[in-house]
């Protein structure tokens, strides 16, 4: 929209009307229905906030919604994420809803609309759906009332003309390693029998050729569709590094700071359920048919997005679920080891990083591939040499899944995964699902917004613990990891 921001936003009254049209018509219907988990004090506050809202007492309603958010945020940070009761997430989402709509009550206040969109995003990231996923609809309306998502300022660069960053990460020589086999559109039965059942990796070609994202996606497109949306970004090359941290920023800020520009830091939009947050992007992708071979229901399939510049490195780790990784833009180097070799890979002993290896440099990889967007390639097979025997034995979750290692020289991966019988928002940690109950540890199924990951990096800066092996260990790989909170909204 070509609006001049110095004047009141045209259609500000239209914004208010559009938002109110989404809401339930009566106060009674607006108050969320919640169970006993939500205590008396909060139940009263919710009633009160709704009354203030319906009574047009905007600033008091804002205060009340802040209190709702403060308290429910604490509930969201208490205990493992999988134990956080969904009602508290609904409360949080409700607080976000009230706050966002109240912020937009003032006509012509463009920064308030941007903040309201941030608030919606926080509700989507941490909350649970209320009133028929109303926050998605609110976000769509707010986005339509913001200035265009295209990045202002210098002319857009083509990805190819971007300055190459010399970050000292060499592009691995795939030819010397054992390749992952490639097949063109195998049948479901063949895939299941030869790869899924025995747990062998494979590259499938031709499966996603018709997905709209293959032709539509570019930096400009993503900025247009999702530029103002707030997403979690990991800053730092590896999540086992000291300086690694997580933060929130808009997609525009992320692209501008970490993708287009020569940033000293590596920023990675990693393992985020972007497509739940931004349905417009979800329309550009699909779910591979092979996913129906999994054990669970279709609505338990999680779809994560991975979006980063060159040089993102993920330490060797094991994913808790079988999954497919789809490379849309750019290329990614991935190195794999068999689960049978887990002991030789020195997993961290802490439950937090128990799916992650401590090793940084690898001598004898088992399998590897360079996953390029739409490319075919053939690697010379080479016999893998034996690995050194383990010096210590560690309990590992007997998931029988591929140990995955990956290294991302470039941009833009999208991964989808087959369903698993358990809660899909568990991230990257073995034992997080019920099917791995044999693992004696109970690591966190992480909050999408989990404090520990960031805090580990900062803690190491304080020179803390000999016992934690984080300082002396790194790895290569592609990781599933949770995201930690920035400030709440």
């Amino acid at each position: 929209m070509a609006e001049d921001n110095r004047e009141p936003l045209a259609g500000a009254g239209a914004l208010r009307e559009a938002l109110w049209a989404l809401l339930p018509p009566t106060k009674e219907e607006l108050v969320p229905e919640l169970g006993e988990k939500v205590e008396l004090g909060m139940a009263r506050l919710l009633q009160e906030a709704t009354e203030l809202f319906c009574g047009g007492r905007r600033s008091e309603c804002l205060q009340a919604s802040e209190a709702i958010l403060d308290y429910s945020w604490e509930k969201l940070n208490t205990g493992p994420w999988r134990d956080v009761h969904k009602d508290w997430r609904r409360v949080y989402a409700f607080g976000c809803l009230l706050k966002a709509v109240c912020l937009c009550d003032e006509p012509g206040n463009a920064p308030a609309v941007a903040e309201a969109l941030k608030v919606c995003d926080m509700g989507l990231l941490m909350g649970a759906a209320i009133h028929g996923d109303i926050l998605i609809k609110v976000a769509a309306i707010l986005q339509a009332h913001l200035p265009s998502g295209k990045r202002p300022g210098p002319a857009r660069q083509q990805p190819g003309t971007k300055k190459a960053r010399n970050d000292g990460v060499p592009v691995p020589d795939v030819a010397s390693e054992r390749p992952v086999p490639r097949l063109r559109c195998p049948s479901l039965q063949h895939f299941r029998k030869q790869f899924l059942a025995p747990g062998r990796p494979v590259i499938l070609e031709g499966v996603v050729d018709q997905w709209p994202c293959m032709t539509k996606w570019s930096l400009e497109y993503i900025q247009e569709v999702a530029g103002c949306r707030t997403v979690p970004v990991e800053v730092g090359s590896r999540y086992t590094d000291e300086e690694w941290s997580q933060t929130l920023m808009t997609v525009n800020e992320f692209i501008s700071k970490y993708i287009r520009d020569e940033s000293r830091d590596v920023g990675y939009l990693a393992q985020h359920q972007l497509f739940d947050q931004i349905p417009e992007l979800k329309r550009d992708i699909s779910i591979p048919d092979y996913c129906c071979l999994g054990d669970g229901e279709e609505d338990e399939i999680t779809i994560n997005a991975w979006f980063g510049p060159r040089g993102t490195v993920s330490p060797l780790h094991q994913d808790p679920q079988q999954n497919f990784l789809v490379q849309v833009i750019g290329r990614k180097y991935i190195r794999l080891y068999s689960p049978q070799e887990s002991e030789a890979l020195y997993p961290h002993e802490t439950h937090l990083l128990h799916n992650t290896s401590q090793v940084r440099r690898w001598q004898q990889p088992r399998s590897s591939c360079a996953l390029c967007a739409g490319l075919q390639g053939h690697q010379q097979p080479r016999r893998a040499r034996g690995l050194a025997s383990a010096r210590r034995s560690v309990d590992l979750s007997p998931l029988g899944k591929r140990v995955i290692s990956g290294h991302s020289p470039s941009q833009g991966g999208v991964s989808t995964g087959p369903p698993s019988p358990t809660r899909p928002s568990c991230r990257g940690l073995p034992g997080a699902q019920s099917d791995a109950g044999t693992c004696g540890l109970q690591p966190d199924a992480a909050l999408p917004w989990h404090p520990e990951r960031r805090d580990i990096a900062v803690r190491c800066c304080q020179g803390v613990l000999g016992k934690f092996t984080l300082r002396s260990t790194q790895g290569d790989g592609d990781a599933g990891r949770p995201v930690s909170p920035g400030a709440e909204c």
Binding site: N77, D455, V464
Partner: protein
């Protein structure tokens, strides 16, 4: 403390529920204001503040609730307020009968039946409850120091007698215990470093804080995800989560906001001494600390000595000794 000071009670913080903090003007009370007491001349000896309501106990044995929960009852020696549960220690119905611990739903207004009761049977328990100062063994530590009460089931949790607990404080996900020798123990979840043992691992049983061994502590306090203790010499040690600056260490969130945020409080303080709310330091070039997993010594401004500390879910308040 051996003797109860007959001071006045003040309160400040979030009172959106009309928790009878000060005048109750508006939603937040920014400076300490006198607490409304149950009646003229009522001598308040114990105040326990939850998020949405406050429980006040008088020397006359009256417990009164104000805020989202209301109601009053007699025959109470002690009360402990949490959002999920209100716990009161009541004298037995008849003279000489055993004192009883009761857990009530806050919304019950102390009418009807409690959710759960526990009669104090052992000699140690009854002696402790019967004699002297109600502050001697404050809830959630039970008289006799053989057990404590938790807002989550199981409500009654035994303690090893060799711990010789003097004081026990419950945080959001952890517990702190101060023993007769001034040693501090912690247990529970450790995700945010709140146990102080130097790791993020949980501890299922009380574990001694080795970093403080040999330093006798006078007070302990537990917040949502952080811990504070005050030594007999007036030093403060903090550990745990610093995401909101609750440890007075540099924090990213406050550096970005550029101001000290006051969070929900409701902790009343005695009128004579100085109260400071510890939020954040400004302009520190030191790296941000999100978690402090073992105790750090905190320097108070002007070299003040601490007398007492208390924690809200994400903030800390310290009372200093008046300077002489």
């Amino acid at each position: 403390m051996a003797e109860e000071r007959r001071g006045s009670w003040f309160g400040f913080g979030f009172c959106g529920f009309g928790q009878a903090l000060g005048s109750g003007r508006g939603r937040q009370v920014h400076s300490p204001e006198p607490l409304e007491t149950p009646g003229p001349g009522a001598d308040v000896c114990r105040v326990s503040a939850s998020w949405s309501y406050t429980a006040i106990v008088t020397r006359g044995g009256q417990v009164q609730l104000s805020g989202a929960a209301g109601g009053a009852a007699g025959g109470c020696r002690d009360a402990w307020a949490s959002e999920a549960l209100l716990v009161v220690l009541r004298a037995g119905p008849a003279v000489g009968s055993r004192p009883e611990l009761q857990a009530w739903a806050p919304g019950s207004a102390l009418r009807g039946e409690p959710l759960w009761t526990h009669t104090l049977v052992s000699e140690a328990e009854r002696e402790d409850a019967a004699g002297g100062e109600p502050q001697a063994r404050a809830l959630p530590l039970l008289p006799g120091a053989r057990a404590y009460v938790s807002p989550r089931p199981p409500f009654y949790r035994p303690l090893a007698p060799e711990l010789r607990a003097r004081r026990l404080e419950l945080g959001g996900e952890h517990a702190l215990l101060l023993d007769e020798a001034g040693q501090v123990f912690s247990w529970g979840q450790g995700r945010h470093g709140q146990l102080g043992h130097g790791t993020l691992e949980a501890a299922p049983e009380p574990r001694l804080l080795e970093a403080l061994q040999g330093l006798p502590m006078a007070e302990v306090a537990a917040g949502g995800w952080h811990s504070v203790c005050v030594s007999e010499t007036g030093d403060i040690y903090v550990w745990g989560w610093n995401e909101s600056g609750q440890l007075a260490l540099p924090t990213r969130s406050l550096a970005e906001d550029g101001k000290t945020i006051s969070r929900e409080a409701g902790w009343p303080s005695e009128g004579d001494s100085d109260v400071r709310t510890v939020g954040s330091e400004d302009g520190a070039p030191a790296p941000f600390i999100a978690i402090q997993p073992f105790p750090a010594l905190l320097d108070l401004p002007w070299g003040a000595e601490a007398a007492q500390a208390s924690c809200g879910s994400r903030h800390t308040a310290v009372v200093t000794k008046t300077c002489t």
